[in-house]
Structure formats: C-alpha cells, structure tokens
C-alpha cells in the first residue's frame, strides 16, 4: 500500500479514524462498532464532543475505553468500563428501532453505488466463493438509523452492485429504500483513505464530497468500480492534526486497529 505514504506520517486507518471523527457532533448518540468507529467516536469525545454517547451492540450505554485496552468485539468487559448502564443485546438494538440513535457507525467489506453493504457472501450466495461472517447488528443498524461507514478505498470493495445486500443503504436508489419498508435512516457518509463521500439527494447515487490532501479526482475514480458523482463544491479535507493522531496513538498503542 502506497496510498498512505503520499498522505504523510500516518496510516490509512488513522486517516479514516480522524476524518470520521470530524463528522460526529456533540450530544449525539452513536452506535459504534469496534475498530475505527470506536476510535473515531472516542477521538470526537476527547476533542470536541464531550457530551457524545457511545452505544455498543453488546449492550453498553456510554462507556469510556481505557487506553491500550481496546475490546476485541463489542461484547467483552472492556466495553463496559465506566459505562452508565448495561442492557441486554436485544434492548440496546431496540434503542435504534425506538429512534434514540443519531448515527450508526461501522466498517465495511464491500459497498455499492447506492451505499448497500455486503458482509455475507462473495459470489453467488447459493454457491459462494467466500462465506463471510455475516450481518451481526449491521442489518439492524443500517435499517434503522443514519449511517457512517469507514473503509479502505479499493476497486474490489467499491462495486456497482454488491453480491448480497447484508446492510441496506439506498437499495436501488431514489425512493426504493422507503418502498422496501425502511422509511427511516439510510447511508449518510462513506469515509475512505482517499475521500469523503455522500449520496445525491434525489438519485441516492454515491457522490464525492471532499478529497483528502494530495488525492486527485482521477485517483478516486480509478479505485472505484462504478462511475462516481462529484460535488460541484468539491473540497479538500484538512489533513489529520498532530493532536488528533496523538489521541489515537494513546488509545491504540499496540496498533491493533490502526496499523
């Protein structure tokens, strides 16, 4: 990987975490996966969003992660440190359905032009080339709230149509999501190591909103398996600041998730 070399002295994962953290707002309730989502949400809490609350699928409301003790999933005791409450899994997921959650935030294996995510099958689901681990709460989170996804920008990950819709985005664009029985939520932002992307308000096709420093439109398009839209006011995102990187390195000194 040479992508992150051109961006300076930080890894692609660190770039993702910093850029994603800036999309969060103080006071939000954020349903976060482990890895980049947790790091980004914790970074936001430390820097500018002290009233942001993290929810973990394992059942935790409002934990603070101990630096250097990142959890291997959302379901271990490391996820409960200094939490306000622990709930059964079903009940914390029902908070999404009830409408208490502002943002769902997770990683992705494969995404398409309408923001649908696949974490179930590569190839035909009846005869898969690779059986992936599956949805976990991904299907619930993406069905019930606004989503941020953080992932590496590679052509094999950014495809015109996913092999299998595990977590629904805008389905086939326009009003198809609501018509499928999902009137709430939807894919809001995709953060990659090349750009920050959103979706067209009408067609719901993926659209580049900002490029990372030193990245060209052509590079983003080359690494995408379908034709991208580019915002008319395309911006260049401010590179990670030293103080942002310092927080990430304090949280993940062993580079478990930021290598």
């Amino acid at each position: 990987m040479t992508k992150h070399d051109r961006a300076g002295a930080y890894t692609a994962s660190e770039l993702l975490a910093v850029m994603a953290s800036r999309l969060l707002k103080d006071g939000q309730i954020v349903f976060a996966g482990v890895g980049i989502p947790l790091l980004a949400a914790t970074l936001a809490q430390r820097n500018f969003a002290p009233h942001l609350t993290i929810l973990f699928e394992g059942g935790t409301i409002g934990p603070f992660i101990v630096p250097g003790e990142l959890p291997p999933s959302t379901n271990e005791q490391r996820c409960t440190r200094r939490a306000n409450m622990v709930l059964p899994i079903t009940d914390v997921l029902l908070l999404l359905q009830r409408g208490y959650v502002d943002v769902g935030f997770m990683g992705g294996a494969q995404i398409d032009r309408f923001g649908n995510l696949n974490s179930s099958f590569i190839g035909d689901s009846d005869n898969p080339k690779i059986r992936l681990p599956g949805t976990g709460g991904g299907n619930d989170i993406s069905s019930l709230t606004d989503m941020i996804v953080a992932m590496k920008h590679e052509k094999r990950r950014f495809v015109a149509d996913v092999d299998f819709i595990t977590s629904p985005g805008w389905i086939k664009g326009r009003r198809t999501r609501a018509e499928a029985g999902l009137p709430q939520g939807g894919m809001w932002r995709v953060v990659t190591d090349l750009a920050i992307l959103g979706f067209d308000d009408q067609t719901r096709e993926m659209k580049v909103l900002a490029l990372h420093q030193g990245v060209t439109r052509e590079q983003v398009q080359e690494n995408t398996g379908f034709e991208l839209l580019f915002d008319s006011k395309l911006e260049t995102a401010e590179p990670p600041r030293p103080e942002e990187l310092a927080v990430l390195r304090e949280l993940d000194p062993e580079r478990l998730y930021t290598a």
């Binding site: 291997p72 005791q77 409960t80 899994i89 997921l93 689901s125 619930d140 019930l144």
Partner: protein
C-alpha cells in the same frame, strides 16, 4: 420430551402454544437441588435437539458444557447463538452440529474470517442460517413471552431477509397500516448458560453484560447452567435483585470453574488472548486438520475439566484472571 424432531415432524417453524405449555407443565418446577457433573448434564441433551448457547462472541460462552457435549459425541444438534465464535468451529468440526442459526460467525474481527466456518458452509457440509442480531434476540424474546411472533422493522429490503425465505413474513399493521416484519418465536429445547454464581436450585446471578441469556432461559424448554461457583440459597436471598434466571427454568446446575476458558467471564477472567492466537494459528494452515487436532488435544485427550485447564496452562489462566478481575480494582 418435546424435541426438535417432533417439531420438525409437525412441520411447524414455531412450536405450537399448547405443546409449549404442556412441556412446561410437565417439568418439575419445585425448589429442589439439581447439582450434577458435566458428564451427567451432557446426558440430558438428546441428539437432534435445538441447543441455544448463552453469552456472545468471546463472552460467557459455556465452553465447559460444549466440551462435555463434544466428548459425549452428540449428533445433529441445531445450535443458535447471538454471535458465534470459536465454539462454532469446534461444534462443526467435531460433527456434533451441522446447523447453526446466528447473526455473525467467526473467531473475532481481529482474527479475520473463520476458515473452519468457510470450509463447512462453502462445501455445504453444514448450514449457517444468518439472521440480523436484533431479529435473533426478538425471536428468543417472543419465545420467552409465549407469543408466536414478534413484529419488527429490520431485515426487510435486504438479502438477509430474502435468504431466510418464508421464515419471516411481512404484514400491514392492523392499527396503523404500515408494513412490519414478523419474526417467528424461537423456543430452544435446551439453553446452555454460564454464570458467575448460582445456588444449588439454579437461581442464577449474572455480572456485567447479559446478552440474550435471560430471554433464552425463559424461552427454552429447559436450561443447563454452568457456574463459576455454587453459593448458598441464603446468599441469593440477600440480593434477589441480582438474580436474573429463576430456578424453575433450570434443569441442571454444574459447578465449572473457569468454565468459559479460553473465552471471557465478566469480572473473573478476560479472554485468553495467547490461547486464542494459538488456536487461530493452528486453523490458519489447514482449517479442518488444525481444528480436529485441537479437538483431539484439548477436548478428547484431557481426562477432566481441570486437565483441560492444565493444557491451556497456568500462565494463561493467571494472566486472564488478573485482567478479568481488574474491573474490581478501580
């Protein structure tokens, strides 16, 4: 005994209500001691039954009971769990189970996609039914509530929903007209649940995350509890607010210290990371041979549960305990 075969033969996805009530009524619900060995408890699980597994991913997995079922060479179990980790690999590779119902199945994000799960599912040697996490939870909850289905608002519009076929339905809400998903109740034959402490009657107290265990216990036709320690009924009665599973749902109580090793038990031990790395390395070279070799060394060769722990190693046990108990240090 209302077993899975019986339900299969009636052709119903949801256990008929009268049958469920009859099975519950037939159970001995008296306040009685039910302490037994792992081997005796394994004898209560019949081939072909639906076994629900408590905990989630690497947490409070009832490994000791799974260990006993694999040693007893059970067959054709259907297994359900919120999220399935290494125990799923072992259940498939041992031949105990050929059908897993879960929302996510691999050792854990940091170890990548399970090659054992891939082998058995891609070669169609086993079935992995994928449901959204909330849907699995609501299925147990409907089972716990004694209702045949639960309405919800996910799984529609996705291929996860399409793939389970007519196991889910949608309908227009009779009050509002909006479309909702209907999830079928799940009443497992047996739930295997590991807890920090319980009494000899099966009154169980859980620390930390509960996962889906309470609904699972209420939904199941019977519960086998394993526990870090058995405490007196007097102690339970001093803090009844901490009791999460009532004795009358429980058929067996087994004292199994370190009963989740190498997984975690909140406040007692964290995951045995070195053991889990070792397992991942064994299955990374040759998934099936590596997993079978692991089963031979860790599941069949030891003469007892303490010998299994011995095989994991005193260093690993102490390290996991030091980290696990650290939540009580602040």
């Amino acid at each position: 005994m209302i077993g899975n075969e019986h339900r299969m033969s009636t052709g119903t996805l949801v256990e008929p209500y009268q049958q469920l009530r009859k099975a519950t009524l037939a159970r001995d619900r008296g306040l009685r001691e039910k302490v037994m060995s792992l081997e005796e408890a394994a004898g209560l699980v019949k081939n072909g039954e639906h076994v629900a597994i408590g905990g989630c991913t690497l947490s409070r997995t009832p490994i000791a009971m799974i260990w006993a079922l694999i040693r007893a060479r059970k067959q054709d179990l259907t297994v359900s769990r919120s999220i399935t980790s290494t125990e799923g690999d072992l259940l498939l590779a041992s031949g105990v189970c050929k059908h897993i119902i879960t929302s996510w199945f691999s050792q854990g994000i940091v170890w990548g996609v399970s090659k054992v799960m891939r082998h058995y599912t891609e070669a169609k040697l086993a079935r992995f039914d994928e449901w959204s996490h909330m849907s699995i939870g609501l299925r147990y909850r409907a089972g716990a509530m004694g209702v045949p289905f639960m309405p919800s608002r996910s799984m529609v519009g996705s291929d996860v929903g399409k793939r389970v076929g007519d196991q889910i339905r949608t309908m227009a809400c009779p009050f509002t007209g909006e479309q909702v998903t209907l999830l079928p109740a799940l009443n497992p034959d047996v739930a295997l649940i590991h807890v920090q402490r319980c009494d000899a009657y099966g009154n169980a107290q859980l620390d930390g995350l509960q996962f889906m265990d309470i609904d699972m216990a209420m939904a199941a036709n019977r519960v086998i509890l394993t526990t870090e320690r058995i405490v007196s009924n007097d102690q339970i009665r001093r803090t009844p607010d901490a009791t999460r599973i009532p004795f009358f749902t429980v058929e067996a109580v087994v004292e199994a210290p370190m009963g989740c090793a190498p997984h975690e038990c909140y406040g007692v031990y964290e995951p045995f990371f070195s053991s889990l790395d070792d397992y991942a390395e064994r299955v990374s070279k040759d998934a099936v041979a590596g997993c079978k070799q692991y089963l031979e060394e860790f599941y069949h060769a030891p003469k007892s549960w303490p010998e299994y722990l011995d095989k994991l190693g005193m260093d690993a046990v102490l390290d996991a305990c030091r980290r696990g108990r650290s939540v009580h240090n602040d």
